[in-house]
């Protein structure tokens, strides 16, 4: 578990720090994908969520979902290439779930990665999570969650 400037950033997850997105590799090899607590703090309360449809193939760093907060709209980008295999009906009903539980019930999509072995090396995990996010927060001028 890592906490950086008050933001919870579990170090057992895989992150694309620039895109502020996490992935968890499940036992069956699929991925659960979501926004970081830091991304939620920057955005404020999420009021709308439009994921890509299940069955759609998404390339790494392309949008898997669009979210809206305080009239801002932006993409959440796929940490690796893969097929969307599930979207989150609880988040569709209550997008604020993303803010309330970003690593649990607030997940955005589940994906079947095309080449996890080849692409996961670009993601950050373990001890590098805290230092990586601290550097990003410094660059962004962010005080804390």
């Amino acid at each position: 578990m890592a906490t950086v400037r008050g933001c919870n950033l579990p170090d057992d997850l895989f992150y694309n720090i620039d895109n502020n997105v996490w992935a968890r590799r499940e036992a069956d090899g699929t991925l659960t994908v979501g926004m970081t607590a830091y991304a939620c703090s920057l955005a404020g309360e999420i009021v709308s969520y439009t994921p890509k449809k299940a069955g759609k193939e998404i390339e790494q760093n392309k949008s898997v979902s669009t979210v809206e907060s305080g009239k801002w709209v932006g993409p959440v980008k796929a940490p690796v290439t893969g097929e969307v295999i599930a979207i989150n009906p609880d988040v569709a009903a209550k997008p604020g779930t993303i803010n309330a539980d970003p690593y649990g019930s607030g997940w955005l999509v589940k994906m079947k990665p095309t080449d996890w072995a080849g692409q996961s090396g670009s993601l950050i995990t373990g001890a590098a999570v805290a230092t990586g996010f601290d550097a990003k927060m410094t660059a962004d001028g962010f005080a804390g969650c």
Binding site: N19, G44, V47, E68, G70, K71, W72, V73, G74
Partner: protein, 368 residues
């Protein structure tokens, strides 16, 4: 080393240059495609930071996540030459025509020195309000996204981002055709006929109402762009779209100028009921209209009307703004906090009365 030092000194003495772009009056689809193209170009670093001004042929613009069926009177739009389009930014549906001027910023987030989206919106809106003050109106930023004059909205705004690139846009009302707006938008007070028009005039204003003479478009652009440039410590240079942007624009237009884009968000109108309630108090009658998001159990828009005495007069308009998009479960504490923060003289009406009035409006709405 000496060369590096000289470069640093030179850089520090000359403000960065942003591009000033005026794309004139265009169809809504073209303006939306330019939104996407310019944001993508900024994200790919093939275009500079830019301030853009734009105009619209008559059009109804949905927020990115909104559905046309829920927000617009589509029959009226079709019969009156009002084109329906969907923005890439958030927020609510608006009506645009030659009576509004659009203003937009395309910037790298790092140029603003702010991380949180709400702070970025506040900084840009405050800068735009400063420019409007120089036109002679007492414009102020009102959280979260409005620029208002004495409680009446003069400019609504919204944004989109992609990576480090931001696009933030606002509309400035030069004149205001209340009736047309009410007819295009399915707003809660539409059934109130004359009262709806009076009610809309209480909430929205325009340069034509505020000033003896509406300044020329070119003068407004000069004043607003200068204020925005000053706020961000940059200078401006007039420019045109570059080849990369034109390529991105043509690709975006193919997708956006199509019914699949405009009507891609489909939600039944029954998921967005409009409900109402009214109560008599010692100081008069207070009525509330609520546009309610049933699946999300969220207030989308709240409108107060009636003849109650409340001072300052803008209090209820500010409360409407505060209640936008609030979950119904958080409505009571939001109302209580709102009144706790300010000095209000409301003859015989308590915050609890207002909470109960909103709850009364929603009493027949099913809980799902």
């Amino acid at each position: 080393m000496a060369v590096v030092a000289v470069e640093l000194i030179v850089t520090s003495h000359f403000p960065p240059v942003w591009r000033l772009l005026d794309t004139g009056v265009r169809r809504a689809a073209e303006n939306m495609a330019l939104n996407r193209a310019l944001l993508e170009a900024r994200q790919s670093d093939v275009a500079p930071n830019t301030i853009r001004f734009l105009g619209f042929e008559p059009s109804a613009l949905l927020g990115f996540h909104q559905s046309a069926e829920q927000e617009l009177d589509l029959d009226y739009c079709a019969a009156n030459g009002v084109t329906v389009q969907r923005r890439i930014t958030g927020g609510g549906a608006i009506y645009m025509d030659a009576d509004q001027l659009g203003w937009e910023l395309y910037v790298d987030r790092r140029a603003l020195g702010l991380a949180e989206m709400s702070q970025i919106a506040e900084k840009i809106c405050t800068a735009a309000a400063t420019g409007l003050q120089q036109l002679g109106v007492n414009a102020q930023f009102r959280p979260r996204n409005d620029i208002e004059v004495e409680g009446r909205k003069l400019s609504g705004t919204g944004g989109a981002f992609d990576g480090e690139a931001l696009m933030y846009q606002g509309t400035l009302l030069l004149r205001f055709d209340v009736e047309k707006m009410l007819r295009v938008l399915r707003i809660p007070a539409e059934k109130l006929a004359d009262k709806a028009i009076a009610s809309a005039r209480d909430r929205v204003t325009s340069l034509a109402v505020l000033l003896d003479v509406v300044p020329e478009r070119v003068a407004i652009i000069a004043t607003l762009s200068k204020a925005l440039a000053n706020a961000f410590g940059v200078s401006l240079q007039a420019g045109e779209l570059n080849a990369a942007e034109i390529g991105l624009y043509e690709a975006a237009l193919k997708e956006i100028d199509h019914p699949d884009w405009v009507y891609g968000v489909s939600k039944p109108a029954t998921d967005r009921p409009t409900v109402t309630a009214q109560r008599k108090f010692a100081g008069g009658t207070l009525r509330v209209n609520v546009a309610y998001d049933l699946p999300q159990q969220r207030l989308r828009q709240v409108w107060f009307s009636g003849d109650v005495f409340i001072s300052p007069r803008r209090t209820l308009m500010d409360l409407e703004s505060r209640l936008r998009d609030v979950l119904i479960g958080r409505m009571p504490v939001t109302v209580e906090d709102f009144f706790a923060e300010r000095q209000v003289d409301a003859l015989g009406i308590t915050p609890q009365n207002i909470v109960e009035l909103i709850q009364a409006a929603l009493v027949d709405v099913p809980v799902i």
